[in-house]
């Protein structure tokens, strides 16, 4: 019963994080100094109230917990849905559902795999096709060079999956939290679409800019 | 005792339970006089209730709340589907919220007069008294009646009465009231006071030492024939309009429970009183399985007409004004299209009999909104009748905003039913009958918005205050499945099912049912006469014999077998139909829903014969292919003066 609320609340946290993350990414267009400075600044956030990197670690813990709760709830709800209909329809027509609502589960798996890769790639830098570096800017630029097109492609697909996930996720989360009054449904749908588009585009710009040589 | 070729006349019968004295004190007197059951003893007393419509669900909920051990049965997959759910118009109550001169007395008066002086004054007065409490009860349960902007309940005038006393919930009043009663019943199921048996059909009543002590029911999923015992049995099983095959009743509505009780000794009263509703969607082909009613509120703005000349098959819009016959407005200038149901129905039949009917088979008349749309505007008409127009269009594929609707009368309600006294007890002690299944309150004709009132009055307020008088003598001697009466009842049921399954003839159950329906409609429908009724009796007897010789029911008892269910019901309709015709034949007068061609005024209006027929005809079962016995219950009118109706 509380699973869906957990799903919605953690979803909200993750969406807010994504927006902040996207904002940071876009700093890449201001040059290496600004980007690295921003990344470093995150470690200083809350200092001296918190120890150095303290905020970052709190954020990481909250995010990790959110992700785990989100995934756990999703898995349980998916299993329950499977159990709720064991015999499938021979013919099934889509009446009004959006494509986004179809892809929530498979998209979610893709996103989870991507997040792991993404952390290994650009955060921990274990996977470093473009060479390791201490500068986040260099890691980014190095990682999306044209010769690593497959990395960019994977990133691209995953970000689009995130967009679809948000398209239905924001709408669904709002419903679960009880905000979807009939009079507001239109607006919530627009907001969900807007967030999905903005986040998708915002995340796509930096790597594409690198790949096409606009940022080097 | 006298005897003729069709029936035997037995001793008169009378209601012993209604107290004497001023009519407004009788119900109080009865409640005071009835023996009470100590709350601690109630859980030792068990009641079986068959049917979960308004009358059954409300009784189950109320008796459960009181602490009795209730076992409930319905043939549907859920108690919420009982056919009360389909009532559209509303429910009457003498609240006088409109300050328009309504009162309990006026509702009582209107109902007795509307019933054409063939109902009991005491019962009707109690119904009017109780009506007030029903609305309170339903609102408290959360029934979302229509309200005005001030937040108070809205009322409308219905069925030609001059006061606004009808409470409604859009066109779905029956649904909302039933859901209210259903939820109250579900609450008791959760509380453990009511045990529900869905998909169970009652096939026999068990009578021990003259008392109703249980029923035999078939589990419709497994086919198991089950025996259930109780200290009292309540039948809330609705009407028998489906004897006509085509009616506005649900497909499963049937007479079996009532008829089985009749065969075990419960008298069946006034079986010929049938209400035929004028505004239904006509039959479109011989595959037709049921008829759909449209609220008669349509007659407030629609004008009814047929072409002046028969065989005029032009598009109705091409027929000029002076070649149309607005026959109701012509014959009844004072009331016009708003004449009572029976008059409107019969007038439609007459013009169709003259060959002037419209649509497939010539069985229909136009209900035209062109004038209303011109006068009020399409939007106003849509606001008032939009949902009905949509329904019409969905069923017929025609757009009533453009083309006149076609309507035709259809069987809608049966005023007759098992005979009960003021306590709602039948002639079998311990067998109570509520709602449409009994005969008590509507006389020969029911007023609009009164069926819901009666069902809920019986279930919420009347039965729970009278059944205690009977149960106070209980608990009765415990019996079990080995009791000879229980064994015999079960054996009868099993034998009948075996017979139905073993005939393996050449005709389907539906084909018999349709044929019976045609006989009933042609000879015992809107207009009846001696010759036709005699013919019908012959035809029904032949058909019944053929049924048992040639019916085809596949499969076994031990499975979900819808053909077997139907066969069981049709077998009983084939016996009931004959009794209806005998009743219609013996009542050589016209009253309410019973119109005898031989008894009409010079203008062709119904003519009662109060000197001869001011009685309830309670029929005792005499055996299949044997004569029934007629017991007359004399009707006396102390308060309302008997008058001939006139709507000219």
């Amino acid at each position: 019963m509380a699973l869906k609320s957990a799903m919605a609340v953690t979803g909200v946290i993750l969406v807010l994080y994504l927006i902040a993350h996207m904002y940071g990414n876009l700093k890449v267009f201001s040059g290496q100094e600004a980007f690295d400075g921003y990344a470093h600044g995150l470690r200083e956030l809350g200092y001296p109230l918190l120890p150095e990197s303290g905020f970052l670690w709190i954020a990481r813990i909250v995010l990790l917990a959110s992700v785990l709760i989100h995934i756990y709830s999703a898995v349980v709800l998916t299993l329950r849905a499977r159990k709720a209909r064991t015999d499938r329809y021979q013919v099934k027509k889509r009446v009004q559902r959006t494509y986004a609502s179809y892809t929530m589960r498979y998209g979610g798996i893709l996103i989870a795999l991507f997040v792991i890769f993404h952390i290994l790639h650009l955060t921990v830098n274990v996977i470093a096709p473009g060479g390791k570096s201490d500068s986040p800017y260099e890691r980014l630029v190095g990682g999306f060079q044209p010769e690593f097109w497959y990395v960019t492609l994977f990133y691209l697909a995953s970000v689009i999956a995130v967009g679809f996930h948000l398209r239905h996720g924001v709408w669904s989360g709002m419903a679960t939290l009880g905000f979807n009054k009939a009079s507001r449904q239109g607006k919530i749908n627009t907001v969900a679409m807007a967030i999905a588009v903005v986040v998708t585009v915002g995340f796509l710009l930096p790597p594409l800019a690198v790949t096409f040589g606009l940022v080097s | 005792m006298s005897e003729n070729d069709l029936y035997i006349e037995g001793a008169p019968i009378r209601d012993e339970k209604a107290p004497e004295g001023p009519i407004n004190e009788r119900w109080d007197k009865r409640r005071f006089g009835a023996k009470l059951v100590n709350p601690a003893n109630r859980r030792k007393l068990s009641v079986i209730i068959v049917g979960t419509g308004l009358a059954g669900a409300s009784a189950a909920a109320t008796l459960g709340e009181a602490g009795y051990k209730v076992t409930s049965f319905c043939y549907q997959d859920s108690p919420r589907r009982a056919h009360s759910i389909a009532a559209q118009g509303g429910i009457n109550a003498a609240k006088n919220y409109r300050n328009d001169g309504d009162s309990i007395y006026r509702l009582f008066y209107d109902t007795v007069k509307g019933g054409d002086f063939r109902s009991r004054e005491s019962n009707v007065y109690r119904l009017a008294q109780t009506s007030v409490e029903i609305i309170d009860q339903c609102v408290a349960q959360g029934v979302p009646f229509a309200r005005e902007y001030g937040g108070l309940l809205d009322n409308r005038s219905f069925g030609g009465v001059q006061v606004s006393r009808t409470f409604y919930a859009r066109g779905q009043t029956g649904q909302q009231l039933l859901i209210g009663a259903y939820q109250a019943q579900e609450r008791q199921i959760a509380a453990g006071t009511v045990k529900m048996n869905t998909r169970h059909e009652m096939l026999e009543v068990i009578v021990v030492d003259g008392k109703a002590r249980g029923i035999i029911a078939r589990d419709m999923v497994t086919g198991e024939i089950e025996t259930h015992f109780a200290d009292a049995v309540v039948l809330a099983t609705g009407g028998y309009g489906n004897v006509f095959f085509l009616s506005t009743n649900a497909m499963g509505s049937n007479v079996t429970a009532a008829w089985r009780a009749h065969r075990k000794g419960a008298h069946f009263a006034n079986p010929c009183y049938t209400q035929i509703h004028p505004t239904c969607i006509p039959v479109s082909g011989d595959y037709q399985s049921k008829l759909t009613l449209m609220s008669e509120s349509l007659r407030n703005d629609g004008r009814i007409w047929v072409p002046k000349v028969g065989g005029d098959d032009r598009d109705p819009r091409q027929i000029p004004e002076d070649e149309r016959d607005y026959y109701l407005e012509r014959i009844y200038p004072a009331f016009g299209n708003l004449v009572p149901r029976d008059i409107a129905s019969r007038a439609a039949k007459n013009v169709c009999d003259e060959g002037r009917g419209v649509g497939p088979g010539g069985l229909g008349v136009y209900l035209d909104f062109a004038d209303a749309i011109e006068r009020l505007g399409r939007d106003a008409v849509e606001a008032k009748y939009g949902n009905l127009f949509d329904m019409y269009q969905r069923i017929t594929g025609e757009n009533p905003y453009e083309v006149p609707m076609r309507i035709y009368p259809a069987v809608h309600y049966t005023m007759g039913g098992l005979w009960v006294d003021y306590d709602l007890q039948s002639t079998i002690p311990g067998l109570f009958v509520t709602g449409e299944a009994n005969f008590s309150d509507h006389g020969a004709n029911r007023l609009g918005a009164s069926a819901l009132m009666q069902g809920l009055a019986d279930g919420y307020f009347v039965l729970p205050n009278t059944i205690n008088d009977y149960l106070a003598a209980g608990p009765f001697e415990p019996i079990d499945e080995t009791h000879p009466e229980a064994v015999a009842a079960k054996a009868d049921v099993t034998a009948r099912i075996d017979k139905l399954l073993s005939v393996n003839g050449s005709r389907t159950v539906d084909s018999f049912h349709k044929e019976l329906g045609h006989i009933m409609w042609d000879y015992c429908g809107m207009e009846r006469n001696e010759e036709g009724l005699r013919k019908a009796i012959e035809l029904i007897r032949e058909l019944r014999a053929e049924f048992w010789r040639d019916v085809k029911v596949l499969g076994t008892n031990e499975e979900f077998n819808q053909a077997l269910e139907k066969a069981n019901r049709v077998a009983d309709f084939l016996e009931l139909g004959e009794l209806m015709c005998i009743d219609a034949l013996h009542r050589r007068e016209s009253c309410g829903g019973h119109f005898r061609a031989e008894s009409q005024t010079e203008d062709g209006e119904a003519l009662r014969h109060d000197d001869e027929f001011a009685y309830v005809a309670a029929w005792e079962f005499g055996g299949v292919d044997s004569k029934p016995v007629l017991h007359k219950e004399n009707l006396e009118y102390e308060y309302v003066e008997m008058k001939q109706r006139s709507y000219k």
Binding site: M1, L3, K4, S5, R80, A84, T86, Y89, Q90, V91, K93, V95, R97, S101, M104, H168, W171, A175, L177, G178, N180, K181 | S58, E65, D77, S78, P79, A86, E133, D136, Q137, V139, A140, Q141, G142, P144, F145, A146, R147, L153, A169, Q176, Q183, R187, I189, A190, M196, T198, A250, M251, G285, Y287, S289, M391, R394, G397, L554, E559, F560, A563
Partner: protein, 248 residues
């Protein structure tokens, strides 16, 4: 019209089912879908074949008994009940696939008939107002603003047919439960039990093996009575309120 039907046949709850094909000729466009099945059954009976079992009763769209999935849509291509669907919605020569509601909570009884007792049990859990007979105050004691009464009515028109469950990709009964929570929650009489009602009904719904709601909206899209999707949001609001008060 000539119609080819592919119908799900299943003898009993625990039997294997399969699709069986039947051909019907001379189908009238004015027949209702169920009348077309009647014609099929008359034909099957005369051919000594077991007729197709399907639930139906009022045949005027209000009792909620009928309901099958027709060509992948609950109640078929029109937004109405199966009994109100007419053959004029199909074309001559069409092949029509007819299946029962499919949900673990609605086991097949036979062919197209399913057991929807789970809905009754959800109502038993709390879908009522406790108002024993005889205890009611005057009906006008509690005026109710018309918009509230209208919204309560809109939600109360649910006929319990189960199309919402049949259409839901998760086989969730959320719209059914939400309709009742909204109906009773909009009325002053429903307030005393409001907080506990939603929790009890949701718990029962989970116990019945319905899936969870993921706000996809197929339920409201197929609902023959047009129960609004936002009733689900209203249920969620009530539910969060109850959980935050420690109820549940």
């Amino acid at each position: 019209m000539n119609i080819t039907l592919r119908v799900w046949r299943q003898k009993g709850r625990d039997d294997e089912g399969r699709m069986v094909t039947y051909k019907l000729t001379d189908v009238s466009p004015d027949m209702s879908f169920l009348e077309m099945l009647d014609v099929l059954n008359e034909k099957l009976t005369l051919e000594n074949e077991d007729p197709v079992a399907f639930d139906h009763d009022c045949r005027e769209g209000i009792c909620g008994a009928c309901g099958v999935v027709i060509d992948g849509e609950a109640h078929g291509p029109e937004r109405t009940t199966t009994c109100q669907l007419h053959m004029r919605s199909f074309k001559d020569g069409d092949t029509i696939t007819v299946e029962p509601w499919r949900a673990t909570a609605f086991p097949v009884v036979k062919d197209l008939v399913v057991d929807r007792g789970a809905f009754d049990r959800i109502i038993q859990a709390g879908g009522f107002i406790s108002a024993p007979t005889g205890t009611a105050p005057d009906a006008h004691a509690n005026p109710i603003p018309k918009p509230d009464a209208d919204r309560a009515f809109d939600a109360a028109t649910c006929i319990g047919c189960g199309a919402c469950v049949a259409a839901c990709p998760n086989a969730s009964s959320m719209l059914f439960t939400a309709a009742k929570v909204t109906h009773l929650g909009m009325l002053p009489q429903g307030q005393p039990e409001r907080a506990s009602r939603v929790v009890k009904m949701i718990n029962q719904q989970d116990e019945e093996d319905f899936g969870g709601c993921t706000n996809i909206g197929e339920c409201a899209a197929v609902c023959p009575k047009g129960i609004p999707l936002d009733t689900i949001s209203q249920l969620n609001r009530d539910l969060l309120g109850s959980l935050s008060k420690g109820i549940g």
